[in-house]
């Protein structure tokens, strides 16, 4: 078996050759963990979209006659301190979670990766300056940034997204840069430059695909992290506010107080968060394994 020298990375040209259904089937067969993760993610997204259709109650309606009721036929997951149905609030909560998770992860990881790779590619002064700016934001504690964003712009879901995304960008940039640095030294990049390809082309076509692995890991990790960060911010009073249904919000205040007397209030949102983050990560791991061009032995 001849050992091929490392060549310009090719995005696997599989789509044209085999139907996507067959690909999915292969994926499920080869990577069962990832398939489970993907299924859970899909369910989450579906639930988020159809919450108002499938939820048994309205998430905002209080019922003082049925406060802190344990799970029963009428309320499958019990009610919270205001008599609001926990199941309904979890279903609606997936909307907030999916929105916050995807927006933050996507913007954070992508903007960060582009900055990191560009910085590594251009090196020299550009790299120095970008690095310093990234360092400045990295050195900043998350709470301060979040507080500043929330205080100046107010609470509300778009500002929470911004408050979480901003600290993610430099972290993504750092990891992407460290991967890109290694690649930059490889001969084929020099060859491409010598051949006169434009910067943008080299970055996007040749370098980015090779940082695809850490990028995907970051993306899936950030998806989960964003949801967890939102929960922490809510804990500090800087996140989404009541009476919005959001998993992180459901975990604080009354849920902790009644942890012994009415544990369903905290268990189910906690489970929802853990499950979602778990699934994202499982799926992301397996996706990354599947897409990594160097894992193909042919």
């Amino acid at each position: 078996m001849a050992i091929r020298p490392a060549t310009v990375a090719e995005v696997p040209d599989v789509a044209g050759r085999r139907g996507w259904l067959a690909q999915v089937r292969d994926f499920c067969r080869e990577r069962p963990l990832g398939a489970i993760g993907a299924a859970v993610v899909a369910v989450n997204i579906l639930v988020a979209i159809s919450a108002n259709v499938i939820a048994p109650y309205d998430p905002l309606t209080t019922d003082y006659g049925a406060m802190l009721a344990p799970p029963s036929a009428g309320h499958w997951l019990g009610t919270d301190a205001f008599g609001r149905d926990v199941l309904t609030r979890i279903l609606y909560g997936s909307r907030t979670a999916m929105l916050v998770g995807f927006a933050c992860a996507f913007f954070g990881a992508t903007i960060g990766a582009v900055i990191g790779v560009a910085s590594a590619y251009f090196a020299g002064k550009v790299d120095l300056i970008v690095q310093r700016v990234m360092d400045i934001f990295l050195a900043f504690p998350l709470i301060i940034l979040a507080l500043a964003v929330v205080s100046i712009l107010g609470t509300g879901i778009q500002n929470v997204i911004m408050a979480i995304t901003i600290p993610m960008i430099p972290r993504a940039a750092l990891v992407a840069r460290s991967s890109a640095l290694a690649i930059r030294e490889l001969p084929y990049v020099d060859a491409a430059r010598a051949a006169g390809f434009r910067h943008r082309r080299i970055i996007l076509r040749h370098m980015l695909p090779n940082v695809m692995a850490p990028y995907l890991i970051m993306l899936t990790a950030y998806l989960g992290q964003a949801i967890l960060l939102e929960a922490s911010l809510s804990f500090l009073g800087l996140g989404v506010s009541e009476p919005t249904a959001a998993w992180g919000l459901m975990l604080r205040g009354a849920a902790v107080q009644f942890a012994e007397a009415a544990p369903w209030m905290a268990i189910f949102p906690g489970l929802a968060i853990s499950l979602a983050v778990f699934a994202f990560n499982l799926f992301g791991d397996s996706l990354r394994d599947a897409l990594d061009p160097r894992l193909k032995t042919q």
Binding site: V133, G270, S274, N281
Partner: protein, 317 residues
């Protein structure tokens, strides 16, 4: 190498300056005034001249650039000033809390690394076997659990099952190591578990990358011994991104464990942070941010050195 070190040291300065400028202006942009908060909160009897006098005393009526320059000059003399809230020197305010946060960060890092590296390596070597699956599930569970939730569960468990509570007051390690450990081991475990999850995954993924290298594959095909020798080699190369992640997380631990500290009732920097921000205590917040930033930048610097040592190609840029 020496030239590299000097260069990196010099680069710390603009970053620190940038952080100083950013925190200075950020704090002043956020609405809220410490004098109001302290004296006029719920009392109907606070009078305007009193509040103004207090503001003048704290130097808040000076023009912004003057406040900034005064502060900067102070820093260069290593005089961080006094807290606007208590009037005590900031060094005093920070001392004990920094010791706790630092110890917690170190303990969590040790736990994380001790867990992550072996697990990550094993998972990479035995990819797609049940060993790999178990490690992945274990580490992902660590990532998925909200840290404050874990803390609350810990304490409840200790209380309900063992009827025992960790010490409520901090004793430094050199005063009474047993009490000190009793208090800090639980948050260190809670934090370390999460921390290890991130590091395990990075280790695994980095190892996998390196193991795909052709020379490694050849060695594996050739036999066990070669595989072992080259695995160690592979590990060394895989360490770069892992180092980056571990270092980043460590610096984060110094001031970022706000929720954990609250749940375990730890008198650390995270709590001090939240309080100083809530009180709009500019001088204390600024000093804390500078401290945390410095730790981060220094840790980064150390990592950069290690990068340069492990991968000579980087040195010569």
């Amino acid at each position: 190498m020496a030239k590299y070190i000097v260069k990196r040291l010099l680069l710390m300065i603009p970053t620190l300056l940038g952080v100083a400028v950013l925190i200075f202006f950020l704090m002043r942009v956020v609405p809220g005034d410490i004098v109001e908060l302290r004296f006029a909160g719920e009392s109907a009897f606070a009078q305007k001249e009193n509040l103004d006098k207090e503001r003048a005393r704290l130097g808040l009526d000076r023009p912004l650039w003057e406040q900034f320059v005064t502060w900067m000059l102070g820093i260069m003399r290593l005089d961080f000033g006094t807290s606007m809230w208590t009037g005590s020197p900031i060094i005093e305010e920070i001392q004990l809390r920094a010791a706790l946060s630092f110890q917690l960060a170190v303990m969590a890092t040790i736990i994380a690394v001790v867990l992550a590296i072996p697990l990550g390596v094993v998972a990479a070597l035995k990819q797609d076997t049940w060993v790999d699956y178990c490690v992945r599930i274990f580490s992902i569970a660590g990532l998925a659990t909200p840290s404050f939730w874990l803390g609350i569960v810990f304490i409840l468990m200790l209380l309900i099952v063992f009827k025992w509570l960790p010490p409520m007051v901090y004793t430094p390690f050199w005063v009474n190591p047993w009490q000190n450990m009793l208090q800090l081991i639980w948050p260190a475990l809670a934090v370390g578990y999460r921390y290890s999850a991130v590091a395990t995954r990075m280790t695994r993924s980095a190892m996998l990358e390196v193991l795909r290298e052709d020379y490694i594959r050849t060695a594996r095909a050739k036999g066990l011994w070669q595989k072992l020798i080259l695995s160690r080699h592979a590990l060394k190369n895989a360490m770069l991104p892992v180092l980056a992640v571990v270092a980043l997380e460590f610096a984060f631990l110094m001031g970022g464990l706000v929720v954990t500290e609250q749940v375990f009732n730890l008198n650390g920097l995270g709590m001090l942070f939240v309080e100083s921000v809530a009180r709009r205590d500019y001088t204390l917040t600024q000093a804390l941010v500078m401290l945390v930033a410095f730790v981060f930048i220094f840790v980064n610097f150390t990592v950069d050195l290690m990068y340069a040592w492990l991968d000579p190609r980087i040195r010569f840029r």
